[in-house]
Point group: D2
Chain length 337, copies 4
């Protein structure tokens, strides 16, 4: 009954299979291998667009590399005040961007409020050299509160941002879960909604360690800079085929979506069960996360019964399901209440 994080999950057996297959004989190092080519092609097919992709081993590296491409050190990056990049990456964006500033906005359920965005952008005076002007926006989908942005919502934010000259980034550490919930094509919520660079996460939905920085449209021009920054950061692994093979494994037959779907269903079951036990659910469950307001009693009942979850800074309990969560774990956990 481990609901502490989807990063606590093992890798999907298909990932292991592909790793074994990729382990036959020598291969060109540093990304000039066939698996890398194939993985990038599969991504392009899946997103139905030309793109360039770089593979890294953590979501933090993914976000930080992406945003360093979009904002100079002298500028700012707009994000939600609860965004992972603002709260949980130890200043990785500041490190990679050489000191760009995160400019935070509020908004319900971890989604940036469009009106606040508009107000912030209208207040910017580019000629005032003393203040930091925003140059990029980062949108997390799923949000940190487990909620989804719809294509309409993303488009609204990117439209406002772009009309003020900003570039756009999506932190898609749990994009799989968002897409499973929305049941739309990946294109619709990414470049189709105005996203320039995507951090596409596959680790939480079943890989060992495989994330991709994906450049769409004009951002493709930044690929050489991305490669240079990636190497400089030590995120160009010599035997890159082993990340690429994981990506191939996850994309084949839409395994990544199937696993996300399962995780989402488990979260729904958990939500229903908690609601039945009169537990207040704080955010819409639109992916694989359930934020619940537990009484001290309920907290002990669950923890004493062996249920692992994470206490959020606001005091609520965050339950995260994953591709390997079994229905019996949900049932057993709910029985404890």
């Amino acid at each position: 009954m481990n609901f502490a994080s989807d990063t606590a999950s093992p890798a999907h057996p298909k990932v292991i299979e592909h790793l074994i297959a990729a382990n036959a004989g020598p291969a060109v190092s540093y990304g000039a291998d066939g698996w890398t080519l194939q993985a990038e092609a599969l991504l392009s097919d899946m997103f139905e667009a030309p793109l360039r992709a770089s593979f890294v081993s953590s979501g933090t590296a993914c976000n930080a590399l992406a945003l360093a491409l979009l904002s100079p050190p002298t500028a700012g990056i707009i994000c939600h005040s609860q965004a992972h990049i603002n709260c949980d990456e130890r200043g990785a964006v500041e490190f990679y961007s050489h000191g760009a500033k995160l400019l935070t906005l509020g908004g319900k359920h971890g989604r940036i409020d469009a009106k606040s965005l508009q107000a912030l952008l209208q207040s910017v005076d580019e000629s005032f050299v003393h203040a930091i002007p925003p140059k990029a926006i980062s949108i997390s989908n799923l949000s940190e509160a487990g909620a989804c942005y719809s294509p309409r919502q993303v488009s609204e934010l990117t439209r406002i941002a772009k009309s003020a000259g900003l570039t756009t980034h999506m932190d898609g550490a749990r994009l799989a879960n968002a897409l499973a919930f929305l049941a739309i094509r990946p294109a619709d919520i990414t470049w189709g909604s105005g996203i320039d660079i995507l951090s596409f996460g596959l680790t939480k939905t079943g890989a060992m360690a495989a994330e991709a920085v994906i450049l769409f449209g004009e951002a493709i021009d930044k690929f050489d800079e991305l490669q240079a920054r990636r190497k400089r950061a030590g995120h160009l692994p010599p035997k890159q085929r082993f990340i690429a093979a994981q990506i191939i494994a996850m994309l084949e037959n839409d395994l990544w979506l199937e696993t996300a779907n399962h995780a989402n269903q488990m979260a729904k079951l958990l939500e229903e069960g908690l609601r039945n036990s009169k537990v207040i659910i704080l955010h819409p469950v639109e992916g694989n996360e359930v934020f619940a307001q537990l009484s001290p009693n309920q907290t002990s009942q669950l923890q004493d019964g062996g249920v692992a979850f994470y206490t959020w800074p606001d005091g609520s309990a965050r339950f995260v399901t994953n591709w390997g969560t079994d229905k019996s774990e949900i049932d057993k956990a709910l029985m404890l209440l």
Copy 2:
């Protein structure tokens, strides 16, 4: 017949076995798992010393994190002019250290010349605020030219360095090969020879992607800073057990040494064969690398015959053997000359 790099090698089957074993069920993420604890304990046993270790997925990250701990941005790091950190890591040390300067020295076969080191350190005037004073030295063992430093040689350099107040780092991307050649205990060439922080590479000798930043002695105090910097750099992988499992696989029964030994023997065979064909060998073969001076004719004969090797900046040909190199490949390659 791939002698382009030891990074072209696949992972050892034992590594795959351990990955599969580690893939059973959930585990605490971000390094608080049992595999990580075990791997660190095995390292401590192997180095016969208290230590702290952080695991990362590339040698570049390993070196850059280590050196950022040893030098402030305002200081310099002494290394050989041909050092990997100086020539092949796209400024990773400069990035991680926020602009520390690599101060380069010469020396035969990629080994820093002790007299030059002494001369450099004697010329430093700490009170002259305009110049960059060295605060650390980085020694590569194997050197970039495939040569070994003996414990005596390392000790001489670290003694000179420490008496001038410097801290010491060893780039051990191929330490396995050096140790296989020297046939001494790992302690003797590392902390026993005055090394504060070691970049310990296991990828080239058989892992998929597993390197360790290892802190010895007083450097252990820097462990919290290392963890913070590692997280900030995106090198704290959420499912860290999969790096730890590789390290366990490589350390078990000294697999890392066995694989290095094999690679070294293959290099010796290659060296002998090349010498027999009157090819000039440029550096002592003390690990798994052979630097040869080929005629244009010999170059084409080999390349046309399907032998992959790397043309070094000085025009020579670098052949690297690895744990998977088969004697038949050496024989077949030599037949082409």
Copy 3:
């Protein structure tokens, strides 16, 4: 009738006199001159404490150098959300500190609320490597809203901060005005109240360009690092005697306090006049700044009559007096309402 900023003021005639006197013949460059020694000694006398001081030409450099000494790149610096370092220095602290994060708190009249500070510090979990822990606090006195911290108020903040292991900084760009208001000794509000490093501003109170980073107590150990960082930032002027001479000029016979006193009195007159005209004053006038809520009518009356002031982000009007403000300017401005 220029109330736009105290930086719009010229230099005091005594400053010019000292510049002329310092301009006789050659002098050792880069700070090894007699004026620099004398200025540092005068500062030590004035603050009644051992100290080390470095002179720079802007308050931004002063703050950024000071805070880079107090916080590593991986940590955070607590400040008021309206602090100059947060809003008006284009990310200088982030630049100099290599990406430390400003962690902002609220509080009335630009003064950090002690309870919020306590709450923030209690919520810190140093073992959680993902989040940025605060390592320093920066207190602006005068605050950005023109209010004073008393020694008791500063001591309360520094006591809370220090008991959580933080170091302390005071942005004293207008410390002269604060001291003129408080009528206490400089020691009482700085090291006597727990301040480790002070940015001591003399430009606004009468110099051309003269600010000092002042290290007290244990922070004195960081002097060599300060010098190195200052040189590296291009803030070690070759002919440093000319900054030192300005500092001497301002300290002699407490000129800096006399000028601040005058500015404060002019601000009081302005405040009274505005209140008499039913203008709402938003913050206590405890220095040389008056924040007023003007009607559109009043705004035009003043601007059309040639009164220069600055429109604050919150829509209010900020009037700043300086050492050269003449009572007749106040009278003439008030007549326009």
Copy 4:
């Protein structure tokens, strides 16, 4: 008899006059004043070209800001191994550029050897992501050895550099002396010879602290970025009129050239005198610096007689004359030998 450095010289009386004149009443701060406009216009007239200029208080800041505009953090900047930016600015370029690497070349008398430049550029393989490609070149005129580049020599270097896609910078800390020696128009040796950004020094030739980053041609597009970086570095002084006034003073009636001319003549006298005393002069005296090889005897004779000079890292003695050097000082110094 102070020949230690031209930075040991006082400011020219005309500079003081202009400072006094600029000190009348309030003026808009942060560079929006009339003096700044006038100084920039005078520079444009003098260089006979459209340009944008930012004024700072040290040559180090000037060079570092200029080069941060020309090289991304992932690239390199070519310079002479003895260049001031490489040896005497405590890593300022590395700091401002966020870790760009100085790639050094040799060449007689501190002048970059054109053939070495060509060879270096031909060896660059942009597709090799591991190595740092040069993106800019920095040429010091005067060189660190006191020698001049002619327009033909500068043009040769910039032509080679530009054909490889590099941008170009001139460190003109002593450009005044070079121009006085060459007796050509400032345009000829700067934009007319292919220079994109110039660090134009006026401090050594008579100002208190006044240097200008000057953007020519397409580099003018980088002006906003320059302003942002300058503010961020604390090099936008609030009372900027006082730097501008110095620049006006130095440009009026070509005072900067007149003072440089005088300094150069004094250096020539010194050179002749030293040669007459059989002292070996190491570099062509083409400005205000004389590098001499003194015997221990000669060294003591001069030092005991009160002559200040600087011992260069190579053991030679560097004598620098300035606008205020009197012929009698030369005579008196020479008499000691």
